[in-house]
Every structure is written in structure tokens, then in C-alpha cells.
Amino acid sequence: MRLEVRDLTFGYDSNVIFNGFSVEFKGSRLNVILGPNGVGKSTLLKLIAGIIRPHSGSILFNGESILKGSIAYIPQDNELLPWLTVYGNVELPLRIAGVNGDVRRMRVLKALEATDTLHLSSRYPKKLSGGERKRVAIARALASNTPILLLDEPTANIDPAGREIIWGILREVSRERLVITATHDISEALIIADMIYIMSGRPASIVEVLSGGEEAWSQSRRIIKLYYRH
């Protein structure tokens, strides 16, 4: 699995966010875009998800244009529809895709089990903690079985125990999917990433790509310097 962003140009009015921006992400690993707030991380995820259109450039998955419904996107806030129960939220992409009732039920239950949210299935989102909401959103992505999963600040405003659980789920999920998360949190990138893409701007650019784990920890000083160069 390979996702390529080529020569991307995008901005709002005179504010240029991307000008010939290129980056490549590979699947079966956890890709983390690291950068300070306002650098364009969320905009990049929205462009990849097809929510906003670039002025020019292309975004390809395995060399081809991304098909509708092949991306699961989890925004920083408002990740669940408040008028649907947890079950209803997880079921939604399958309903939209017209998946048969029994198959749908089976996939929803499996996804809820995988994220340890089965016991929450009849609750409405307002009754969930931040971490629980995020886990349900990940369950929805698992149920829809999309090859690409994009998460914007997946653990922002979540307590340490909740973050730990989400990191574990993301590591698991990234084995079979192309997962890209955006974060401003250096420690989170160091802890969970298989690959770290340090983003700077504006116009935005990837200033460094590093392997996660030991390599990233050994270069943490350099990462901090690059992070604050913005």
C-alpha cells in the first residue's frame, strides 16, 4: 500500500498553505505527521480524504486515484454523530455502502469488540469520555474496512490511560492498513510512530522523514529543533 501526494498546491485566498507539496506514505505501518499547530497538518488530511480539493497536484493510492469510501477520516472533534448511538455510528458507513443486515451486524460487533467498546453500544456519544469516543470512531473505521485511515490529533484532550489504549489499538490497526495520524505532540510521535514526517511551513513542507522507535528516540533533540524551526 502506497499513498502519494504529488505537487500539491492549496490555500485560502492569499494564504498559501501548500505550494508544490509532495510526500509519500507506505502501508502496514503507523505514519505520524508531526508539526506545530497551524502548519497545515489537518488541511493535508482533509485534502487526502477528499473533503477539500487542491488547486493543483494529485493524490494517488497504489498509483491510482482514491475511490470514494476507501478512506476513513476521524476529525479532532465531532468524530461521532451525536444523534446516533455508538452502534448506529459504527454501522453508518456500512448502511451507506448498502451492506446486508446480517453481515453489517457481524462486522459492527466485531469492530466494537476489537476496540473494547461493545459494552457502550447503546449509549449516545454525549455519555462517552473523549477516549471512548475516539475508540468508537476507530471501530467505525474498522467496520467499514477501508484501506486508509486518517486521524487528526487522535489523543488530544484524552487522559494518559485513554491515550495508552488508543495507541495500542492504532498499532494493531496499522498492521493491515495505511494509517496516517497528525499530531502536534512530540512525545506521542516518538512513542507510537513507525515513521515520523516532520512538517514545517508556510508554505508547508516535510523537512525530515525519520523511522520511529529507537532511531527517533536517539534523534529526539534534532526532532525538537526541527519542530520549533517553524
Binding site: 482533509k46 480524504a49 477528499g50 473533503i51 470514494k68 469510501g69 478512506i71 476513513a72 477520516y73 476529525p75 472533534d77 465531532n78 468524530e79 454523530l81 451525536p82 444523534w83 446516533l84 453508518l92 458507513p93 451507506i96 455502502a97 447503546s122 449509549r123 449516545y124 454525549k126 467499514s144
Partner: protein, 258 residues
């Protein structure tokens, strides 16, 4: 267990409100009875004679039939206002041209005293439809404005989610747009229906073709004081019942999502 707790959160305040209404009614009745006994004026009949008139007219007289006519007019008007208010409210909020042109038109024409249009509507729509027309017009505004405002304040993230799931406009409408405007819509509807019962009286007493409004007007001309009060009580009770039902639905929905 959770759902029982949730149900209690809805049912208990509702019972409490009904209790308050009963207490208020008892207080008003007692006060009324005292005034009736002390003033001895024909236009202040005793509570007993008003209630017996109401019972007789409902069980043997024409009041039940009049109530059906009024209800049909009010419900039809609300239905028309609901459809047109939601459609035009959504266009005003979500279509660029609608936002620029329709929204200011709706907001600018809202303060017009629409009841004054009854004579003109009579020429255009005739006797029966002018009544439905004027009620619809008055009910339309709170519904259209609530739809507009609630639609504008719904976070776009929800629609992005549907888009990334490969959903069409129909899916956005079904899973985001309509559910997101329901609380505002119910508030608008609740306010609008209370106005609707006031307007139906004006419309029905303007040209007498049946309905509780016409019954009140006719009773007034006949100096049937108890009849006037019976009509007023029936119209008020219907208005309060409609208001309470909508309020309960609104409350239950809001408790789930807010």
C-alpha cells in the same frame, strides 16, 4: 438500567410540570369563583356553569364538531408551514444564492403583522383556504428561521464524515442535516403552534364558517357568556396540550444529544 434512568429524567419533570398546571388551574378556578360570587355580573359566570356548558356542548352540541374543524385547520396549516419552512429554511442556509437572497427576505418580512393580511388572503384564496393560509404564514416564520439557524450552526465535520464514507446528498440529509435541525425545529414548532391557536381564533371569527373561533364569536353575539368561556377554555386546553406534547418530544430528544 441506563434507559430506565433516562426515561425517569424525562417522565419526572413532565409529571412535575403537569402537577404545576393542575395547581395553577385550581388556583385560577378558586379565584374566578370568588370573583363570580362577589361581583355577580353576567359576564363573570360561575365555574360550575362554564364547565357544565362545556360538557353539554361537547357531548350534545356543536362544539366537538367545531373543535374538529379548528384542529383540521391548525394541523393542515402546521403541516404546510413545516414543509415550506424546512425546505426554504434549508435553502436559505445551505444554498449560496438562497443565503444571499432568500435569507434576508425571510428575516425582513418576519416582523410584518401577517394577521392583517386576512382580508387580502380572502380575496385570493377564498373563505376556507384564507384561514389555512394566514395560519400557515404565521407558523412558517419560526420554523423557517429555526431551521436556518440550526442548520448554519451544525459543524461541517459531520458532513465531511458522510462524504468520506462515500455518502451522497441524500445520506447527508438523512443522517446529518435533518437530525441536526430537529431540536431547533421542535422549538420553532412549539412557539409557532401556540401562536397558531391565537391566529385560528382571529381567522375563524373574521368570516364565520365553523370552528371554535366562530363558536366563541357567535356565543358573544348571543350574550351566551358561559358559551364564550367554554370555547375559550377548549381552545386554550387544546393549545396547552399541543404545546406540552411538542415540549416533551423536544426535551426527550435534547436530553439524548446535548
Amino acid at each position: 438500567m441506563v434507559s430506565v434512568k433516562e426515561d425517569n429524567k424525562v417522565i419526572l419533570p413532565a409529571l412535575k410540570s403537569i402537577g404545576y398546571i393542575i395547581i395553577a388551574l385550581m388556583l385560577v378556578s378558586t379565584l374566578w369563583e370568588l370573583i363570580a360570587l362577589t361581583t355577580v355580573k353576567p359576564y363573570v359566570p360561575r365555574v360550575e356553569s362554564i364547565l357544565s356548558k362545556l360538557y353539554i356542548e361537547l357531548s350534545q352540541g356543536r362544539l366537538l364538531e367545531d373543535l374538529m374543524i379548528t384542529m383540521r385547520r391548525v394541523l393542515l396549516s402546521i403541516l404546510l408551514a413545516l414543509i415550506s419552512g424546512v425546505v426554504l429554511g434549508l435553502i436559505s442556509a445551505r444554498v449560496s444564492l438562497g443565503y444571499k437572497i432568500l435569507r434576508p427576505v425571510i428575516l425582513a418580512t418576519y416582523p410584518i403583522p401577517h394577521v392583517t393580511l386576512i382580508p387580502i388572503l380572502l380575496w385570493i384564496l377564498g373563505v376556507e383556504y384564507s384561514k389555512i393560509g394566514v395560519i400557515s404564514l404565521i407558523v412558517f416564520y419560526p420554523i423557517a428561521i429555526s431551521t436556518m439557524e440550526w442548520s448554519l450552526r451544525t459543524p461541517r465535520d459531520y458532513e465531511y464524515l458522510i462524504e468520506t464514507m462515500g455518502g451522497s446528498f441524500y445520506h447527508k440529509l438523512r443522517y446529518v442535516i435533518i437530525p441536526s435541525i430537529i431540536p431547533g425545529l421542535l422549538t420553532g414548532l412549539r412557539i409557532a403552534t401556540s401562536t397558531a391557536y391565537a391566529v385560528v381564533f382571529i381567522a375563524e371569527s373574521f368570516v364565520l364558517t365553523g370552528g371554535v373561533g366562530a363558536y366563541i364569536e357567535e356565543s358573544w353575539h348571543r350574550l351566551d357568556y358561559a358559551g364564550v368561556y367554554a370555547g375559550v377554555i377548549l381552545l386554550s386546553a387544546t393549545g396547552i396540550a399541543t404545546y406540552t406534547i411538542i415540549w416533551l418530544i423536544e426535551n426527550a430528544y435534547r436530553r439524548r444529544i446535548e
